[in-house]
Amino acid sequence: MTNIFEYAPAPESRAIVDIKPSYGLFINGEFVDGNGTSFKTVNPATEEVLAEVAEATDADVDEAVKAARRAYTRVWSRMSGAERAKYLYRIARIIQERGRELAVLESIDNGKPIKESRDVDVPIVAAHFFYYAGWADKLKYSGYGETPLGVAGQVIPWNFPLLMLAWKIAPALACGNTVVLKPAETTPLTALLFAEICQQADLPPGVVNIVTGAGDTGRAIVSHPDVDKVAFTGSTEVGKAIARAVAGSDKKVTLELGGKAANIVFDDAPLDQAVEGIVNGIFFNQGHVCCAGSRLLVQESVADEVMDRLKRRMATLRVGDPLDKNTDVGAINSAEQLAKIRELSQVGEDEGAERWSAPCDLPANGYWFAPTVFTGVSQAHRIAREEIFGPVLSVLTFRTPSEAVEKANNTPFGLSAGVWTDKGSRILSMANRLRAGVVWANTFNKFDPTSPFGGYKESGYGREGGRHGLEAYLKGADA
């Protein structure tokens, strides 16, 4: 008998990506220096500086909006939907062709495991462009009219850099809008590679503009008077600031914000799959997921058994080098985020919840946090209410379906929820009663270009994906 069946490191080659020492802004089809300073983007797994990236100023943003407006007026809004579609199909194809390169670069800049960037992020990105490409010449059947809004200002987060870009750009372009997009300051590289893909696709200059920077750059986009549409994915706090900033204007807004999803496990659940769903729900992408199943609500009668199985499963998670094909959990995206996760976890302990972390060796350099679960959590605990946005699960118990619903809905958020039970009628009842934009029953964290995604309450408004996702970029059937 032996336990030497260990996996040797199986790193994906980094040679496929060519990271330049510095990057400019992508405005009007070209990379330009911009007028601001620059900032560094680092590999969160090693803390190595990857590149210097230009920080766009108000004037740079203005240039980008002007370029987008010109492209909108002169080219893009005049082009037939069928022609726009062909550009989007081209982009989708190039994303597939350069898929490995995009995946490796995403893992280097973001810290997510290569098996996720390779098998989840990048394929869905390509699929998203394919899906919306097909809508471009069929908008009159959408139910939302076929009149574009104009220039869309889009601000995206660091957790799914390229996927969020696709969710924003693909529908905007399909509907005939042009865009100015700001990637997150810790993960700008794949957006800049996407800019190169736009060049390879011969996309007309100005249709897509990428401006890098932090909060000030984002504010400049959101408040620019010639932006007709604001699309934001990120924190609820910033979402509220955006809602205030656009008050009294004609800007159309969609917001995809935070969450604190309940993942509800009944005693008749398919337990092995439920445990997988719990693990996938909170440890996928290091828990940097707005719809993460961060609150496990487990029926008291099976709570011990579920926890035993969960811990046993967590002990098999492989934490480490994001480029290793066997890695399940990668690096925390930034020092700042790591500090926040540590702080809230400390609060959890201080408030009396019991902490258990999977036994794993964490690398010496870089930002890491072991998969962690808190038991004995009550609704009043901060770790049951605040979004931790990391690999930290809070476990609560319930006795009856009504109690589960009550606890699940007892939050200002309403992005997603999970239900695990073998009883069909109970699934439908729970799905009806949960106030959340996405309900995963006997599954979790599934995404598809055809499936609308978005929240209730303080998780934001508007939907991305599917036919519903077109509404955000069209004037409406009554226009």
């Binding site: 139910g143 205030r244 699934i427 996405v438 599934k446 609308p452 995604f453 309450k457 009554d478």
Partner: protein
């Protein structure tokens, strides 16, 4: 010698009952010629708070009813309104100073609008929801659900305008706190009487009369209100203020249409319904 009229006291409509304002205040409502019509209750922030509580309490039951049942209730409102049309025509003529023909047209349209929306209850889901063909073994369905408690600032048009903003919200299962037109509040309370006798559960529609500028900010900033319809806000500055306040809990906001007066006689589109609907998407694996 002619008989002395028994005049009606116009109160608020909250939770199915007709209370006076808790503040004890009222204000003078004049007719088009400036002559006293009645004293209307002048609602306070606490009345607004009570109305939100009533609307929240009613939400679960109302949104949980079958669409067919909501259609029946809203159709019933149309029936009862039709039966009391003379009273509404008289109130509209007095309040707005319009001709008998115009008042009749307005009541006709209001009744017809209720009938139109009643029919939407069990169709809107089919028109705005759909199945999603995801690339995997999953059943995936998107359906609309009501946003929750919606505050409405009603437009100047006392009956047709009011019906046109309230009906699309309740037919989909939302519950409503509506601030009646400050200048023409009486019809709103009379409409409350119609709703109270049409099997509409208490709290589904709550009517406040009084100062828009005083009450609306409390509703806009209320953390248990899910959306706000600013249709009747004519002061652009106030509208912006309310929208800013609404951001505190990310209310769904319908902005006033700037400069354009709504043509209440035109057939509405879907947007007054869809603006206060959420899309819920449910996934389930397909397997044996």
């Amino acid at each position: 010698m002619s008989r002395i009229d028994v005049r009606k006291t116009y109160k608020l409509y909250i939770g199915g009952a007709f209370p006076r304002s808790e503040s004890g205040r009222s204000y003078v409502v004049n007719d088009a010629k400036g002559k006293l019509l009645a004293n209307a209750a002048q609602a306070s922030r606490k009345d607004a708070r009570d109305a939100v509580v009533a609307a929240r309490a009613a939400f679960g039951g109302w949104s949980g009813r079958t669409a067919y049942n909501r259609a029946q209730v809203v159709y019933r409102i149309a029936e009862v309104l039709e039966g009391r049309r003379e009273q509404f025509e008289a109130e509209i003529r007095a309040s707005e100073g319009v001709s008998a023909a115009k008042a009749k047209t307005a009541v006709d349209a209001a009744v017809d609008r209720l009938v139109w929306y009643a029919g939407w209850a069990d169709k809107i889901t089919q028109v705005v929801g759909n199945a999603n063909p995801v690339a995997g073994p999953y059943f995936n369905l998107s359906t609309p659900e009501p946003s929750g408690v919606i505050a409405v600032v009603a437009p100047r048009d006392p009956l047709l305008g009011l019906v046109s903003v309230v009906a699309p919200l309740i037919i989909t299962g939302n519950t409503v706190v509506v601030i009646a037109s400050e200048d023409h509040p009486l019809t709103a309370i009379t409409l409350g009487e119609v709703m109270a006798t049409s099997d509409l559960p208490g709290g589904v529609v709550n009517v406040l009369t009084g100062s828009q500028a005083e009450i609306a900010p409390w509703l806009a900033s209320h953390m248990d209100v899910n959306g706000i319809d600013l249709t009747g806000v004519e002061d652009a500055e106030l509208a912006t203020e309310l929208e800013v306040a609404a951001a505190d809990n990310l209310k769904r906001v319908r902005r006033p249409s700037p400069g354009a007066t709504d043509d209440w006689l035109a057939e509405p589109g879907l947007d007054r319904m869809t603006q206060f609907l959420e899309t819920k998407t449910v996934w389930h694996p397909i397997g044996v």
